[in-house]
Amino acid sequence: MRKIYFRGWAWFKFTLLCLFLVSLLNQEVFAQARYTISGTVTDARTKSPLPGVVVRIQNTNTATATDANGSYSLATTQPAGTYRLVFSLIGFKPETREVVLGASENVTVNVLLSEDIVGLDEVVVTGTSVATSKKQLGNAISTVSGDVLENNIVTSVDQALAGKVAGAQITQNSGNPAGGISVRLRGTSTVVGSGDPLYIVDGVIINNNSPELIDLGGYAQNRLVDINPNDIERIEIIKGAAAAAIYGSRASNGVVQIFTKRGKEGKPKVTASTQFRISEVRKTLEYNDYPFRFVNTLPGDLTQEPVQRYDYQDEVFRTAFGTENNLSVSGGSANTQYFLSASFLRNQGIIDETQFTRGSARVRLDQTLNDWMSVSFGANYVLSTSEEIPNGGLNEAYGALTGFIFSNNFINPEPVNGVYPSTAPTNILRRTNPLEAIDRFDFQQRTNRFIGDLQLTLTPINNLNINYVLGYDNATQIATGFIPVGNTTPSYNAGYSRRADLTSYRLNNDLNISYRTMLADWLESTTGVGATAQVEKNYSTAINATQLGPIARTVNTGANIIGSEGRSDINILGFFAQQTLGFGDRLFLTGAGRYDVSSVFGRDNRWQFYPKLSASYLISNESFWEGISSIIPILKLRASYGQAGNLTAIPAYGRYTNYNPVALPGLPGVISSTQLGNEGIKPERQVETEVGADMSFLDGRLGLEFTYYNKDVEDLLLFINLTPSTGFVNQYANVGTMTNKGVELMLTGAPIQKERVKWTSTLIYSRNKNELNDIPGGVVTFPGGFGQVAAVNGYPIGAFYSTYFARNPDGSLLLNPNGLPQAERVGRNPETGQPTGATRPKVIGDPNPDWTGSFINEVTIGGNFSFRAQIDAAYGFDVFNFTRRVGERDLYGGLSGYEPELRGEVPKGTSAALFGIFENYIEDGSYIKLREISVAYTLTPAFLGGNNLRLTLAGRNLLSIDDYSGYDPEVNAAGQTNAVRGFDFVEVPIPRTYALGVQVSF
């Protein structure tokens, strides 16, 4: 076989679509003649040539791709006979042609490819052991092409995905320029762990943590923000356990696999783009402009005095600018392809003095070593920095907007002789002057990150693929915070300095072997086995200094310095096997099993097994369907069952009972932790069943994807409360259960499909219902929601659990003797009928939407004008408006909602009475947002020598239709926290952004 290699013919072309190198394998023994098949491939609609189309002789490794002119040339030494030639390209329906290799050595085959609206023939690799077309899969899988990320004003990949995936709820939790984003695929599957899916970039399991190294009020970046969306070629999203069994204990939240761009054979292609952005606050809160105030808060005293009112928001928000520059160079020879890119993004936040900057560089090198071996190497370096202003205020109340909401707005916040006045309404409580937070605080974050991968692909014999991936991701995030001495903060008048850093290291080794063969004419078998070894290490330090000296900003200047350090180490090994049988291109059955073992699992539960089974039936390929195929050309029914685990919920050392170090002066000691170890801890196990159908109508111009799923999470980990008389307070225990049931629907159509005009429409609808059960004691309160958010038996995760109005039997408010509303209590006084005893909490709201949806329209006219618009909606969810609760209260009263009390329209003391009735602050957050709109025009100006220049005008979050009284129903002050959602406490609203972009390519 080595001789073949030395023939040295450059016959192998890299197939661009899949991870596996497909190389030509000469079967010299049988070689009798040499043939060359050539031709061109053209777009059936626009009649323009199609580059990058993969041309393959079916069931062989003989393949090539079309060049920029749509032409291909395929040489083969196959014996004479009749073969099937397959032409495939993403976004187009594949075509198969029969070719007869006989007398003539040169055969010409020209093909027209039609656009594929439905995408059933798309090839995916996620959750399968070998590249597989979607039609064979028994589970739904979503794919998003990198094209839709273009012309877009997004900072991160997850932000760009919002509204584009059925079954995914994507929420931007903060409007900061690198605002954190939560992705929930088919609802939330865990309580204490991360609810975000597993992200894999070019085979590397990447870190998407949201470390809160400095307290910015609840907001934190999630580390996916380091990946430049412009580098992305394609994204595959698996939503269910049934598909995710192959990723074992990390997959119960689903898997998002991202493929970055690769070089293609040909002369160097250079693309440069620049974008200019303007962001502004979409809506500000109505502030109190009543020119009088009460001189005290005593109920009977209505004395008022004149005051001047200020709108602090004017001083906090600004019009922000940003630029983004991208440059990429790609190309290569037959055996070597490269892709290089560099990008620089600088984006100001709408809160004054906030900014996010990201510089990144990426290299992808693909090298074919010989006819059965190739390597690929990728490297991505990112340096991102941010200047932050704290807002929100779940723990610390030193933020800018926090200061605004806790101020009564009759104090001029401007500094006098450099000293910022306290804007706190009384001298009892101290609250931050928002201007001081902006002008004097210095909070920064800086992340250094390298992601690299090395992949080796072997095809030693026909149809046997061996693939090894080494993935490496190392991120060091450093955060610093500084509040100078002598300020208006509640607790750091003597100054505050903090430095914290976290180095997260991830390594994954994956070996996958697959073999595909025809057992009979009608029976195709694909066998995959694989093993993975993964290491996750985290090193963190934090140093806090208080009682600072003047001027210097580092912790050294503090008189009181406290340091802490943490390290964790997690090892995971996994082994899987998967078998797919294809019966006559109609029925596909897959079975798989995976064993996982991890250092975080308790000793008795070390080995975890995850099975899966799925079936796909292409009923439209049956002969009896032919009569109907003009109406419904494609109908596929699918069903799958599978299990997956979630180990993110288990802390690295959760099984130990720890004794934490403490120190008295000169005397080191240890104390037992409040947390009792759990030697039997194991991953949460999700059992999922999904059934669905994919179909197309009207000659493939209308496609429908429908899925129903039911996910049961067993052994749900909860941080349960123990009876304190154990000597411990809490423990991680696998006690709860959770279910998610829902449907997802995607309707894609092409109302107009003409040579010069194309209009495609996509409608996505997702509905999910979550329910928690087996909560010990019925209720477990979560941290981070002021004690108002809890897991309650029979209710969905994140339910708001707090006080509510005492009401009369007719539903009207039961007022107290002073005529004010009051909270319901455990009892009623039999004589007066008034509530007595402690206040009684109940579930007063649910932050999970009944459904989410989106409507996307794209129009292209000719070759050079395109228009795109996306509308997102979320319906039937509640927001806990803590912002209003504080701003309308008499003590603070900076919002217009307090004015009725000043005007005497409601009794004095009403706002103070309402303050303790949390039900009053639950609001419907349902919204419809104009998420994205863009127009692009492509020119071919003479001065560019016939190369393309594309101009783009785009907008994001331009409009929101909602009844929500706060800034934005979408944000969440608790950041990416899993359990506390829909919690509005002066989190930065998502800005309205406009952008103008120019792209040149040659």
């Binding site: 059965w372 071996m373 001298n427 009892i428 101290r430 072997l458 030693p460 061996i466 090894y468 080494l470 509640p490 607790s491 008048n493 003597a494 390594l507 080794n509 070894a533 993964q534 290491v535 208080t546 009181n560 406290i562 390290r567 964790s568 180490d569 090892n571 090994l573 250092s599 690295a652 050392y653 130990y656 720890n658 004794y659 403490v662 120190a663 008295l664 002066p665 005397l667 000691g669 240890v670 104390i671 037992s672 009792l676 170890g677 409360n721 123990l722 009876t723 304190p724 008389s725 154990t726 000597g727 411990f728 307070v729 010990p776 004691g777 004690g787 007595t836 005893g837 402690a838 003590l891």
Partner: protein, 441 residues
């Protein structure tokens, strides 16, 4: 084909090399010691002994002094956090899920649990010298006793042992007090049999903490509360009044009262009420202890005058006495009065406290004129209550005093306390069916 095989071999070898780092599945925790390591080694037990005192002197005192201090009206909760508002409101508005009650309950349970771990494991560890072992055990008895005592002051019933495996039983507070006293007695007996070694002082208590005098003082205190007046007097007499015993603090382990009450550097959740929170008729103008404990201007919060704490609570690292020497005099005075002893003797003890202007090791001087009221049992008892409220301000005893001296009670009168006993925390009740019914008030 040979080529391929060798490639696969190399690949497998390289793979294995890369895998070795991830094959280890029993990873030790570098951040903290495990129970096995702590409870079976000499170093571990010594460290846990220091730890139990560190815990009690920070988290423990915060709960034992501040929350009963609010309920006993020494302090006012000024933060707008729900738990603080509930504690401040007291009465039926104090729910069983209140976070402060849970803290008080669970921190005392943890103190008991750690003390029990020491008492159970220390005798089995070889290499601990006799004088060190007796010190370690007596030290654990002291903290277990104080935890039990603190529980008995706040709850009508409590457990006397902790358990991970089964639901604990509740016992009436009289039995809980007896259990506390039993611990103090066992500690004293251990030290009588084997005095502590120098090593124990160096490694566990340091020089500021006086174990034996603390045991006598606590024994006197809780025997008084239990009505064992002779034992209270005996133990009070055994306390060396010129010795001091203190909890010490550092920036790593800060004075919890300062931290929770200070407005500038700390959290500022609570503030001291003007005049120690006493009704006008119980506060004597000119009491020098007012300026010792309180400072700053008088602010009005929701109609109540509040000031700023100083005394033992004015910086992060100010030491807090384990007990005050004058408490022994007041214990004796009260025990004499309650056991029908000499009014004269009691009066002398009271006047020693009232007229003191120098000599208190902690500088707590009343500098008042001698008692001039009627010399009757009831009048002198009321005087003891007054003196205790001032002298022993914020030592976690005012609430108990107001009950023991039969002061006006809620719900009718909330001037001196707004609850009689706390309800049992929900977290205990939800998983322990033995939890008794909550007291009405």
């Amino acid at each position: 084909m040979k080529n391929i095989t060798s490639f696969i071999k190399t690949g497998v070898l390289a793979g294995c090399l890369l895998l070795t780092s991830s094959c280890e599945l029993d990873l030790p925790n570098p951040n903290a010691a495990s129970d096995l390591e702590v409870l079976s080694s000499r170093e571990g037990i010594i460290a846990l002994s220091v730890g139990v005192r560190q815990f009690y002197s920070t988290a423990g005192l915060e709960a034992a002094y501040l929350y009963p201090g609010v309920t006993g009206r020494e302090l006012k909760g000024v933060a707008t956090f729900t738990n603080v508002l509930e504690l401040e409101a007291g009465g039926t508005a104090l729910p069983s899920f209140n976070g402060n009650i849970l803290s008080l309950w669970s921190r005392m349970q943890r103190t008991m649990s750690m003390s029990d771990q020491i008492l159970t494991n220390a005798p089995n560890i070889s290499g601990i010298s006799d004088g060190t072992l007796s010190g370690i055990l007596a030290h654990a008895h002291l903290f277990k006793g104080m935890a039990l005592g603190t529980l008995a002051l706040a709850f009508e019933q409590a457990n006397t042992e902790t358990s991970i495996t089964e639901n604990i039983m509740f016992r009436p507070r009289a039995e809980v007090l007896e259990a506390a006293i039993s611990n103090f007695n066992q500690g004293i007996a251990l030290l009588d049999a084997t005095p502590v070694s120098a090593e124990f002082t160096t490694l566990v208590t340091g020089n500021a903490f006086d174990l034996k005098n603390s045991l006598y003082a606590m024994n006197a205190r809780y025997n008084l509360f239990a009505g064992n007046y002779d034992a209270a007097i005996t133990n009070a007499d055994l306390v060396n009044l010129s010795a001091t015993s203190e909890y010490v603090y550092s920036t790593q382990s800060v004075n919890p009262i300062f931290n929770t009450t200070n407005l500038e550097v700390g959290l500022g959740y609570f503030r001291p009420r003007d005049n120690f929170g006493l009704p006008q008729e119980l506060f004597e103008e000119g009491d020098a202890r007012e300026d010792f404990y309180l400072t700053g201007q008088t602010d009005i919060v929701n109609g109540d005058p509040v000031r700023t704490l100083q005394g033992f609570f004015d910086t992060q690292t100010t030491e807090i006495p384990v007990y005050l020497p004058d408490e022994m005099k007041l214990i004796k005075a009260e025990a004499i009065l309650r056991s029908g002893g000499s009014l004269e003797e009691a009066l002398n003890l009271i006047n020693e406290v009232r007229t003191q202007t120098t000599g208190d090791p902690f500088g707590v001087h009343a500098a008042l004129p001698p008692y001039s009221g009627p010399v009757t049992r009831d009048a002198l008892l009321l005087e003891v209550y007054k003196q205790r409220a001032a002298e022993l301000y914020l030592t976690g005893q005012k609430w108990e005093d107001s009950r023991r001296f039969g002061r006006p009670a809620p719900p009718e009168n909330t001037a001196e306390r707004n609850r009689n006993f706390y309800p049992y925390p929900d977290q205990e009740r939800l998983n322990n069916p033995n939890t008794p019914t909550d007291p009405v008030i």
